[in-house]
Every structure is written in structure tokens, then in C-alpha cells.
């Protein structure tokens, strides 16, 4: 298959202000707001919006409220203090480069509303709750009866009666017909943007029975980028939450996840690589990473894989586990030999190599001073022993 994107844990999350722009276009009410990248812009934005305002850090990581990334400013003096502080913050390692200055809304009650995909039921799922504004997973655990779940039949889709049904179950004083229409709009966003999640938490119920989305979260399926060209560019740039090694692997068509052990892992096939990590752990070792070179990898790709894993500061041993199917053992052997020749690898290497062109692959390795093993378990034990030797 053509690999436009390789999924190494990459998800396209939208910033709150981006999701709210979309909400606004779809007639879902959001508070008046403006984006600011520095103090001057923040002051202008607040004047435009009108005090009191909420200053909100625009980050992709969760938990910004607890980290002090959301504060109310009642006047310009407070705004200066707050905006300056938040614009210089790092939240869970992510630097805050912009704040959303938003008109403070009157809250009668905070609700929760989302549309997502339920893997288990293989269906879209609308979740609503009259207990919003807090962590929904916590609510689901403590008060499961307060969570309304409505699965959507994909052959029928969302219809407004579903909105009325949910509004009735919410049992709060809102305009049901308007709510139902707005939920339909939220569903349209879910479909039009290939979203994996569209979430409003809190959805604020105001005194007049109308609602306004005080927060907005969207995750877009990165596999759908071929029909969302404008987001494709965003995905390419939205790399703050990924390490240099994750990105290097991705650029080369491989999936990589960093861990904190001392045995680097390279293999072909996601399931096999996970099993390799598990066997290493079973024999008392600690994997330093997950790296899947993918199906039918070239020698060049194996070389790149070794380059990436060997740059992991804790990796003492690298365990390569190849079971050739479409992937050819001689290609993998050539990649390993090239990497050890051209890169100054400080790690010891343990190789398990069986499958397509196994004999040719083993000969290449033997000729270059390597010994390949047949059993994954045996090789894992050897890797663990070698890692311990160094201690």
C-alpha cells in the first residue's frame, strides 16, 4: 500500500480556537473570542471582547486548567499579569505560544456532550451528561447512571428525534428543539471532518435555556488526510508532542515509540515487535523502544532503524528480530552490515533472522562477524544477559 503517512502514534488534535472556528461555521454557539500571541495582542483582544475575559492557554496536551493555563481577568491590569504568565508557560512540556481571550459566559449549569467512535460496538456514539465541566471518565466511574450513551446506526445516521431523545434524558431546562438542531450540527462536523472525537466540555447552559460551547476538542483521523488537504499541512507541522526519534522514524516510513529501558528493539510487524518487547521483559530485561520497520522493508530502512535506535541514550544492546515474509532476510542483513560499517555503533547487537532468503541473509551476517539465532526466546535471553553484563 502507498505509505503517505506512517502511524507511530500520531493523531491530529486541533487547538481549542481551531475547533471553535469550525463550531462557529456550523452555527454552534461559542463565546466571543480572539486569539493572541503576545501581550499587545492580548490587550487588543480583551478590549474587543470586553471584560471580564477568560485567558486560555492554547495547547494540545490535556490538563491545562490544573496546570494554571486558564484564568479569569476582570480588568486590564489583571489581564497583563495573567497573559504574561500564561504566554511564558510550559504545560507538560508543551510551550504556550498563544492564548484565547474569551468573553466570560454566565453559567447556569455545565453539561457534557461528545460524538466519538465506539470500537466495541463498531458504531458512532453520542455521549451526554448533565454533569459536565469535570473529567468525564471520572463521572462515568462514580456515577455511571449520569452518562447518556446513544449509539448511531451508520445506515440511518443522526436524525433530530435522536436529539430530542437525548435532551429528554438530560432532564435539564433547555430548549430541546434548538439543542437537537445543534446536536445535528455537531454530528455534521463529526462526519464532514472525519473526526474520531468532537467534544464539548463544558457545554454551558445559560439562564435563558440556550447553550454555548465553552470548550472544544477535536481529533481528526490522520488516515483521512487525502480528503482534507488543508489539515494535511497542519499534521506535518504539529509535532511538538513527539520526540526527534519518533519523527525520524516516521519520515522513513516506520513506527517508533520511545520507552525507558536499555534494550533497543527492532522488528518487522507491529504484533511481532510487541511480542519481542514482552519476551525481553519476561526474561528480566527492559525494552528501550518499539520500532516496526514495516512490511517489505529495504536494507536502507533497516540501516535507518539502527541509526535511530542506537541514538537512544540508554540503549546498551540492540535486539533485531526479523521473520521474513515479504521482508527478505538478505536485505535486512545488508542493512545491518551497512549500519555497523558506516555508523559508529556503541551497542552490542543480537540478531534473530528466519524466513524468506534466510540462508543468504545468514551468510552475509556470518561473513561480517555476526551470528544470527533462530529462536526469538533464545535471542531475547542473550540480549538480556548482554545488557546485564554491562552493569
Amino acid at each position: 500500500m502507498p505509505k503517505r503517512f506512517v502511524k507511530g502514534g500520531l493523531r491530529l488534535k486541533l487547538y481549542e480556537y481551531e475547533a471553535k472556528e469550525i463550531f462557529h461555521k456550523y452555527d454552534i454557539p461559542v463565546p466571543t473570542s480572539a486569539l493572541a500571541k503576545d501581550l499587545e495582542e492580548a490587550k487588543k483582544a480583551a478590549t474587543k471582547v470586553g471584560f471580564p475575559v477568560v485567558v486560555k492557554a492554547q495547547v494540545l496536551v490535556g490538563g491545562r486548567g490544573k496546570a494554571g493555563g486558564v484564568k479569569i481577568a476582570n480588568d486590564e491590569k489583571e489581564l497583563e499579569e495573567i497573559a504574561e504568565k500564561i504566554l511564558g508557560m510550559k504545560i507538560k512540556g508543551e510551550r504556550v505560544t498563544a492564548v484565547l481571550i474569551e468573553k466570560k459566559v454566565d453559567i447556569k449549569k455545565e453539561l457534557y456532550l461528545s460524538v466519538t467512535v465506539d470500537r466495541s460496538k463498531k458504531a458512532p456514539l453520542i455521549i451526554a451528561s448533565a454533569l459536565g465541566g469535570v473529567d468525564i471518565e471520572e463521572i462515568a466511574e462514580k456515577y455511571p447512571e449520569k452518562i447518556i450513551k446513544r449509539y448511531i446506526d451508520t445506515e440511518i445516521g443522526f436524525k433530530r428525534y435522536i436529539g430530542l431523545e437525548i435532551a429528554n434524558k438530560l432532564n435539564v431546562d433547555l430548549n430541546k428543539k434548538v439543542f437537537s438542531k445543534q446536536l445535528e450540527q455537531l454530528w455534521k462536523i463529526f462526519e464532514d471532518f472525519d473526526a474520531e472525537l468532537v467534544e464539548i466540555n463544558p457545554l454551558v447552559l445559560q439562564e435563558d435555556g440556550t447553550i454555548v460551547a465553552a470548550d472544544a476538542k477535536m481529533i481528526i483521523d490522520d488516515n483521512s488526510m487525502f480528503r482534507h488537504k488543508d489539515f494535511e499541512e497542519k499534521l506535518e507541522k504539529r509535532t511538538a508532542e513527539y520526540s526527534a526519534r519518533e519523527l525520524a522514524a516516521r519520515e522513513n516510513g516506520m513506527a517508533y515509540v520511545e520507552l525507558d529501558g536499555d534494550i533497543g528493539i527492532i522488528g518487522n510487524g507491529a504484533g511481532l515487535v510487541m511480542a519481542t518487547m514482552d519476551v525481553v521483559k519476561l526474561y528480566g530485561g527492559k525494552p528501550a523502544n518499539f520500532l516496526d520497520v514495516g512490511g517489505g522493508a529495504s536494507a536502507e530502512r533497516m540501516k535507518k532503524a539502527l541509526e535511530i535506535v542506537s541514538s537512544h541514550p540508554n540503549a546498551k544492546v540492540i535486539f533485531i528480530n526479523i521473520l521474513g515474509g515479504i521482508t527478505k532476510c538478505d536485505d535486512m542483513a545488508n542493512g545491518i552490515v551497512a549500519a555497523t560499517r558506516e555508523l559508529n555503533l556503541s551497542q552490542k547487537i543480537v540478531i534473530r533472522l528466519i524466513g524468506t532468503n534466510e540462508e543468504a541473509g545468514k551468510k552475509i551476517l556470518t561473513d561480517n562477524g555476526f551470528h544470527a539465532l533462530d529462536s526469538m526466546e533464545e535471542a531475547a535471553k542473550k540480549a538480556v544477559d548482554l545488557a546485564k553484563e554491562g552493569e
Binding site: 500500500m1 502507498p2 505509505k3 503517505r4 503517512f5 502511524k7 507511530g8 502514534g9 500520531l10 493523531r11 467512535v117 470500537r119 466495541s120 463498531k122 458504531a123 458512532p124 471518565e137 446506526d153 451508520t154 445506515e155 462526519e191 472525519d194 474520531e196 483521523d221 488516515n223 483521512s224 487525502f226 480528503r227 513506527a255 515509540v257 520507552l259 522488528g267 518487522n268 510487524g269 507491529a270 504484533g271 511481532l272 515487535v273 510487541m274 511480542a275 518487547m277 514482552d278 519476551v279 525481553v280 521483559k281 519476561l282 525494552p287 518499539f290 516496526d292 512490511g295 521473520l323 521474513g324 515474509g325 515479504i326 528466519i354 524466513g355 524468506t356 529462536s375 526469538m376 526466546e377
Partner: protein, 288 residues
């Protein structure tokens, strides 16, 4: 016997002239799979390895009486290819393509289900009934005819386990990859129901991994409805939460989808869980 595919399967290859389609068509032919037609829009009238190519599935089915399909069409066009196969009642439809958008999969998987059509995948290595038919991309020499049914969410890990089983004398009835995506057609339970009715299958190896709750549901099903011996293996005990481990579906979300939860579910249901791949054949030999 065996399930899903056998000597009677008349296979149609959608996307036959692409790089992957061509490569695997030749391998399947060499294995003895009865491939009766290929489809590539715009290449109708041509031939490949002696197989007739058509522009549409409908034309191919009318002329060749194809019964099943394997799809190698790139992700942006794959869901159209699946609809075409569904409309012509091909069954099973094996979707090899990786990176199909989740919204597309949701729609065609549910449509196929309502029409009693089995979709294998997306993102699957396919199905093999050894000595009968290969409808997939797995290295067929690893597999041998026998009594073990294999159901798995991954590719190479399945080859690893099948290879060990074969070497220890346990051949397979059918080995099926249900797919590494979050939304797939056949689930573990659907396949278990097929193995239950299959006389050739004496025991089942279930290879799961982190993400979702398909393994937990399968454990519950086996406990109450499945009499043949089952051995389970779960990959991803060392996987961190919140990270996709290669497969789009292999992700622990919050407290959901961990290997621990799956292993506990199997143990609670009285199903043996192997600690490492090579142990599976040893457990099988004790059970049958």
C-alpha cells in the same frame, strides 16, 4: 472443511494490476488458489498471468462467476471497491488495504454485516486454509494442513506462531487475520462461531493485542459457548498507555485495552494464556 476459503472459492482480485496486487496474485496462483478474475478500472480487456481483467466487479462476476474478493486498492479508493464487492454479493471480502479512514470502515463494515457478508480486515494479512486456498499475503510455506484454527490481529506474529505449530506437528485448518485497525469486519467471536461448526478444527489459537475489548468479549463467549480447546496469547504487555503501537488499533486508552485486562479475562474464563509465542504449541500438545 476449513472456514471462509477453500478449493471451491472462486477468487476475484480488486486492484490486480497495482504493485501489491500483481505480486500477491502470482503468489496466490502458485499456491493453487482458484483466481478467476481481476478488476482494475480502465484496464478491462487486458490479461495478467492468464487471468482476465475487467473494469467493474459486476462484469467480472457475470462472466466468471467469482464468489469472493480480495482487495489491494489504495486507501482513498478502497471503500468504493468494498461497496462494489458488497453489491455483487461476494463473500468473503478480504480487505488487505491499510490506512482506510475509520468513518469509511464503519459504514462498509455495518452494511456488509446487515447483508450477511463477511469482511476480513481492513489491514489484514488475509486468510489461508492450508493445501486449499491462500487469500492473502502471508508466506504460505509456513502453514501446513491440520486441525488448529488461528485467529489473530497481526501478521508476522501469526507467522511466528504458525511456524512453531507446524514445526511441532500441529497443522492448521484455517488461519485468519481479522485486521489491525480499530474497526474491522469479522470479530474474534464471528470467527470462533465458524470454527465451532468446522469439523476439521480441533483446537483454536487466539492471538490478540492491546486496544479495544474484542479479547475480553471473546473470553466471555468462549466460556459459555465454545467447547473446543483454546489457547490465547496477547501482545503488548510492555506497551505504554496512549501510544499507538504500529497498528492503528493497538492503543491503550485510559484504563481501557491493556494486556493485563485481556489476560485476566481469559484466565477468568478458564482459558490458558501463553507467556511467550513458543509456549503455545506446548500448551496445545497438552490440550489435544
Amino acid at each position: 472443511m476449513a472456514i471462509l476459503v477453500n478449493k471451491e472459492t472462486r477468487l476475484l482480485v480488486q486492484g490486480i494490476t497495482g504493485h501489491q496486487g500483481r505480486f500477491h496474485t502470482e503468489r496466490m496462483l502458485n499456491y493453487g488458489t482458484n483466481i478467476v478474475a481481476g478488476v482494475t478500472p480502465g484496464k478491462g480487456g487486458q490479461e495478467l498471468f492468464g487471468i482476465k481483467i475487467f473494469d467493474t466487479v459486476k462484469e467480472a462476476v457475470d462472466v466468471t462467476k467469482a464468489t469472493a474478493s480480495i482487495i489491494f486498492v489504495p486507501a482513498p479508493y478502497a471503500s468504493d471497491a468494498v461497496y462494489e464487492a458488497i453489491e455483487c454479493n461476494l463473500n468473503p471480502i478480504v480487505v488487505i488495504t491499510e490506512h482506510i479512514p475509520i468513518h469509511d470502515a464503519l459504514k462498509f463494515v455495518n452494511l456488509a454485516k446487515s447483508r450477511n457478508i463477511s469482511i476480513v480486515g481492513p489491514n489484514t494479512p488475509g486468510v489461508i486454509s492450508p493445501s486449499k486456498a491462500l487469500v492473502g499475503i502471508m508466506p504460505p510455506h509456513i502453514f501446513k494442513e491440520g486441525g488448529i484454527g488461528i485467529i489473530s490481529r497481526s501478521g508476522t506474529l501469526t507467522y511466528e506462531i504458525a511456524d512453531a505449530l507446524t514445526k511441532k506437528g500441529f497443522g492448521q485448518s484455517t488461519s485468519i487475520g481479522i485486521g489491525g485497525d480499530p474497526i474491522t469486519g469479522l470479530s474474534f467471536i464471528d470467527v470462533l462461531e465458524m470454527f465451532k461448526k468446522d469439523k476439521q478444527t480441533k483446537a483454536v489459537v487466539l492471538i490478540g493485542e492491546i486496544g479495544g475489548d474484542a479479547e475480553e468479549k471473546a473470553a466471555e463467549y468462549i466460556k459459555d459457548n465454545f467447547d473446543k480447546p483454546v489457547v490465547a496469547y496477547i501482545a503488548g504487555r510492555t506497551a505504554p498507555p496512549g501510544k499507538r503501537m504500529g497498528h492503528a488499533g493497538a492503543i491503550i486508552t485510559g484504563k481501557f485495552g491493556s494486556a493485563k485486562s485481556k489476560i485476566e479475562a481469559f484466565k477468568k474464563a478458564g482459558i490458558q494464556v501463553a507467556d511467550y509465542p513458543d509456549q503455545i504449541a506446548d500448551i496445545i500438545s497438552r490440550l489435544i
